[in-house]
């Protein structure tokens, strides 16, 4: 991709950037998942906002599912750029598992949400118009398992995302190794001098 060449040319120091498409997918997912999680946690505790937030939550969930499927295709087709040399062997292993867990959770959570509503026999309409078909039989026991799983997966997402962001922040701030810059869009260059 031409962007990759441009990026490589623009960044003189080792850490190469993800493709522009990958970066766009990443930040789109970040915004959507933060919104979906916060709205999800909020709506079940907010009587007056529940009805409106539920509709928004399900629409965002459907969008996440779509974006994550596209991302997985993109991830398989494009190998991400190498990590900075600061990532050790053991840390590298942890990072690989963290990434896999994140992809798995991002894929599973909207599917579980969709299946859970299906199991309650309730139709799903997203963005006010698009009707999603049921993907689980009407069965309250199936609903119960999926409903509890939806909460557990939400907390797991919070933990895994917190670990993901903390790791990158630690690298970027403590080591200044350009870990975060692989994923950012640069508007005007402000290279930090390394000591």
């Amino acid at each position: 991709m031409s962007t990759e060449i441009e990026d490589t040319a623009a960044t003189a120091t080792p850490p190469q950037k993800f493709t522009a498409l990958s970066r766009m997918f990443h930040w789109l997912t970040a915004i959507l998942i933060f919104a979906a999680l916060l709205i999800g946690f909020t709506m079940v505790n907010w009587l007056a906002g529940y009805a409106t937030l539920r509709v928004i939550h399900m629409s965002i969930g459907a969008l996440i599912l779509l974006v994550v499927v596209l991302r997985i295709v993109n991830r398989v087709r494009h190998h991400p750029p190498a990590w900075p040399p600061t990532v050790g062997r053991l840390e590298g292993k942890a990072v690989i598992w963290l990434e896999r867990a994140l992809y798995a959770l991002l894929l599973a959570q909207p599917l579980v949400g969709w299946a859970m509503v299906s199991a309650s026999g309730t139709p799903i309409r997203v963005f006010g118009v698009l009707r999603l078909p049921p993907i689980a039989p009407f069965n309250i026991d199936v609903f119960s398992v999926l409903r509890e799983a939806h909460s557990i997966l939400a907390y797991l997402l919070v933990v895994v995302i917190a670990a993901h962001v903390s790791t990158v922040l630690a690298h970027a701030v403590v080591l200044s190794d350009g870990m975060l810059r692989r994923m950012t869009f640069h508007i005007g260059r402000r290279e930090r001098s390394k000591s």
Binding site: W46, A48, G49, E91, S120, S144, A162, V174
Partner: protein, 364 residues
């Protein structure tokens, strides 16, 4: 300097400075504080002391009724029914919903008595509920949970909650504490007024001859996009002669006998509101002269004990609406949806118990 040469700790081959590590801890700590703080607030772990949540209702129902494992937290006692709605097409004037096109839509439903005690004795004065799911389990479903009351006693979630707490039977008398109820009514004049209206229309002998009402207002959207405020009701068609019955399940036993001897029918009336009518206050009736559209006939043909896979497992969430019907600004609607969902989740994970109304045990 005499300090012993201590090797500086490294991470990934990079020597760490104190300044860098502190900065990193601040960045990570700051992120985690905001991130986990937001989750904790949204999830209700912090800051819920002064807001009413669905969980408060679930706990209040348990406090008033005791543990009712596997049952709905309100309207716990009930029986499943099924039949169909025969639309005459008149409803299309106000709504594009598929259910109002001429023809038949299958319906599953549930008759119930208000209150969270699944083993309560049938009383004529207890509010009667009818939950219906038109077109279950299709994509254009319309669910409704109605009562045989002319108006609803409360116009806010807080009002309902306060009334629920005040209604707890005192262990000495078996009746609500009169002082608590008086204090509640003094604080909620809207309920006092609604109770007066409810008292003026005494209940019919049984379920079969009860008129059930939506109570909340909804907007009906026509094919041309016009929005009409509507409250609907089910008006009994030539109710069968009241069937003498007694015992703790007198009302349900009579219903079972009536459906066995022939289908029960109601007319679905869509009452059209005026902009000046109370559209967001379920405690206030609309003027009696409002036009009502006869949209068709509900026929209930079968009745069965609540069991896995029938109406027992349906959450009659009043906001499961088809295209062509939308919610109004009535502040009861979203809380009803939220609390029904909480009740559904809780009872789904509880172990189930035999329902009190057992159709097979009713003498023919």
């Amino acid at each position: 300097m005499t300090a012993s040469p201590k090797p500086r700790p490294t991470w990934g081959g990079v020597p760490l400075t104190r300044r860098r590590v502190l900065l990193g801890m601040a960045a990570v700590g700051g992120f985690l504080a905001v991130d986990l703080g937001a989750v904790a607030y949204a999830g209700g772990w912090i800051g819920t002391a002064h807001r009413l949540t669905p969980d408060n209702f679930i706990r209040a129902f348990a406090w008033v009724n005791g543990k009712q494992s596997g049952f709905r937290k309100n309207h716990a006692k009930g029986v499943a029914v099924a039949g169909y709605f025969e639309s005459n097409g008149n409803g299309r004037e106000v709504s594009s919903a598929v259910v109002f096109r001429s023809g038949r839509t299958p319906v599953v439903g549930r008759f119930s008595l208000a209150g969270g005690n699944a083993h309560a004795t049938d009383m004529a004065g207890t509010a009667r509920g009818l939950g219906l799911a038109f077109g279950f389990s299709g994509g254009s479903q319309w669910r409704t949970a109605m009562l045989n009351l002319p108006v609803f006693p409360d116009n806010s979630a807080q009002g309902f909650y306060d009334r629920l707490l005040a209604s707890k039977a005192s262990p000495d008398t078996g009746k609500p504490d009169p002082q608590a109820m008086a204090a509640f009514l003094a604080a909620h004049p809207e309920t006092a007024k609604a109770m007066k209206i409810i008292g003026q229309s005494p209940p019919s002998p049984g379920f079969a001859d009860s008129t059930f009402r939506s109570l909340n207002t909804f907007y009906f959207i026509s094919e041309s996009g016009s929005r009409t405020p509507v409250r609907w009701s089910l008006v009994p068609v030539t109710p069968p002669a009241p069937r003498p019955s007694s015992g703790p399940n007198a009302l349900f036993d009579a219903l079972v006998g009536q459906i066995r001897s022939g289908p029960l029918q109601w007319k679905l009336m869509l009452t059209v509101g005026a902009p000046s009518d109370p559209l967001d206050d379920a405690t206030r009736p609309w003027p009696a002269d409002r036009r009502a559209i006869d949209a068709g006939t509900l026929t209930l043909t079968s009745i069965e004990t609540e069991r896995a896979g029938n109406a027992r497992d349906i959450n009659f969430d009043p906001l499961v609406l088809p295209p062509g019907i939308e919610r109004s600004d009535d502040p009861l609607l979203s809380p009803r949806s939220a609390v029904y969902a909480a009740s559904y989740r809780v009872r789904a994970r509880e172990s189930t118990n035999s329902p009190t109304v057992n159709v097979d045990e009713v003498a023919p």
